[in-house]
């Protein structure tokens, strides 16, 4: 990748709305990475909840820093999805090579993994329950399940040290690498970075985030359900009714559907998009399912 290729305009052109959303997604990724870096000195994987409580209650602007990190991550997810929708609506996916398109599609599971690992690092009751769920799901992957589970979650049960390294290192590095290739820039442009920072900061100031009760605490509400992060409620709802392997089969199916869109024409493309739409509708339905169960 040459130096000029790193700073040239991304596919879609400077005035393309999908290009704007893509650049904004890169801005959110950068804000998330920078705020995550700022959180590193305050976070201890061995005392996750305790260290975050100290950050919240004992450090000036500590709550803001953590909320900035979280909201920029949410912004990354939302703008990435919106960018994909616009790319598909404008049929601009062929501006990328086939390989680059497949790698770009992998940004979705990677973003979810990055967000989920961040959620687990909270160390509160809901986060503590997400850990065994993630572990059991990984174990159901054929042939490589237990090894994959240990690679992602570490070999010490209940310890989040490996996850914290993946969160800050592996997932962030891969997200940045693929995003840079996708956008043909090593770093986001100043406008996207400032805009993403301002939106994240406004949300962090206006809607502060709280930490949940410590691990083992009983959930509130008659149904006694601990809700996971908002972006994974569909998965939580699906696991009430569907077999456990659906937790990795369903994302794999979506990746394949989106990946093959680039090479498909006419009816085949329409069919793939209808199936992807049905996937999203099912996700929304399962989100409603778990919310109703938790009431």
């Amino acid at each position: 990748m040459g130096g000029s290729a790193l700073t040239e305009a991304p596919p879609g052109g400077a005035r393309s709305p999908s290009g704007d959303l893509g650049r904004l997604a890169f801005g959110f990724l950068a804000v998330s990475a920078l705020s995550g870096l700022a959180l590193v000195p305050f976070f201890s994987p061995a005392h996750a909840l305790e260290s975050l409580e100290r950050l919240h209650d004992g450090m000036p602007w500590g709550f803001f820093l953590r909320a900035l990190h979280a909201y920029s991550s949410f912004g990354l997810l939302v703008t990435t999805v919106a960018h994909l929708v616009q790319v598909l609506a404008r049929r601009t996916e062929r501006q990328l090579s086939a390989g680059a398109w497949w790698r770009s599609v992998l940004l979705f599971p990677l973003t979810f993994l990055a967000l989920l690992s961040g959620f687990v690092l909270r160390g509160d009751a809901a986060a503590a329950e997400a850990l065994p769920v993630w572990s059991r799901i990984a174990e159901t992957v054929p042939f490589l399940g237990p090894e994959l589970q240990r690679l992602l979650l570490g070999v010490i049960p209940g310890d989040v040290g490996a996850i914290s390294l993946h969160h800050a290192g592996t997932f962030t590095f891969l997200l940045w690498l693929i995003t840079a290739e996708h956008g043909r820039r090593l770093v986001p442009d100043a406008r996207s970075l400032v805009l993403a920072g301002l939106v994240s900061a406004a949300l962090a100031g206006a809607v502060p985030l709280t930490l949940g009760p410590p691990p083992g605490a009983s959930p509130s509400g008659a149904a006694q359900i601990l809700l996971g992060p908002w972006y994974l409620l569909g998965l939580q709802g699906a696991l009430v009714d569907l077999p456990v392997p659906s937790a990795w089969l369903a994302p794999l199916l979506l990746v394949l559907l989106l990946g093959f869109v680039r090479g498909a024409d006419g009816r085949a493309r329409r069919l793939l998009l209808v199936l992807a739409g049905a996937w999203v509708a099912a996700w929304v339905g399962f989100t409603a399912r778990i919310l109703l169960l938790a009431r």
Binding site: A125, A128, E129, P132, V133, S135, R136, I137, L144, P146, E147, R150, L151, V155, P157, P215, G216, S218, P219, A223, Q224, I225, L226, G228, Q236, L239, V240, D241, V244, L293
Partner: protein
């Protein structure tokens, strides 16, 4: 006919691929060998007696219950996806993740869990009980 440069490029790529595959194999073997050993939890006889007197109590990942001569310990890990079940207001246990329900003796009654809660093997060792899961 390929040039010397092409040949060397292919050679470097092939060597890199082989090294990557070898590294992945080594990592795979190391991860396979790192299977966690069966867990043992030591419970003091006094704590067990107190738990039984209270009608059962949580001890780490276990729920210890009576009778005093032959106490039983249920694993609090839901058999669906491993979330920690909590005592339910209606009696028995409830999983906070996906709503599975279990009776007080650990039998599954509702929800996506397919099996009852596991029972730990309790063994008397001196003044203590050792639970093995």
């Amino acid at each position: 006919m390929s040039s010397r440069r092409d040949f060397l490029g292919e050679l470097w790529r092939g060597t890199g691929g082989a090294l990557l595959a070898a590294s992945a194999l080594i990592l795979h073997r190391a991860l396979r060998a790192a299977a966690p050993a069966p867990r043992e939890t030591t419970l003091s006889a006094e704590a067990v007696s107190r738990a039984i007197a209270e009608g059962g109590a949580e001890w780490g990942d276990l729920f210890v219950t009576g009778p005093p001569s032959a106490p039983a310990a249920l694993s609090l890990a839901c058999t669906h996806l491993g979330c920690r079940v909590r005592p339910a207001s209606s009696g028995g246990f409830a999983c906070p993740c996906h709503g599975s329900r279990f009776t007080a003796d650990g039998s599954r009654t509702a929800g996506p869990a397919r099996a009852s809660l596991s029972r730990a093997l309790l063994e008397r060792r001196g003044a203590s009980w050792v639970a093995r899961l």
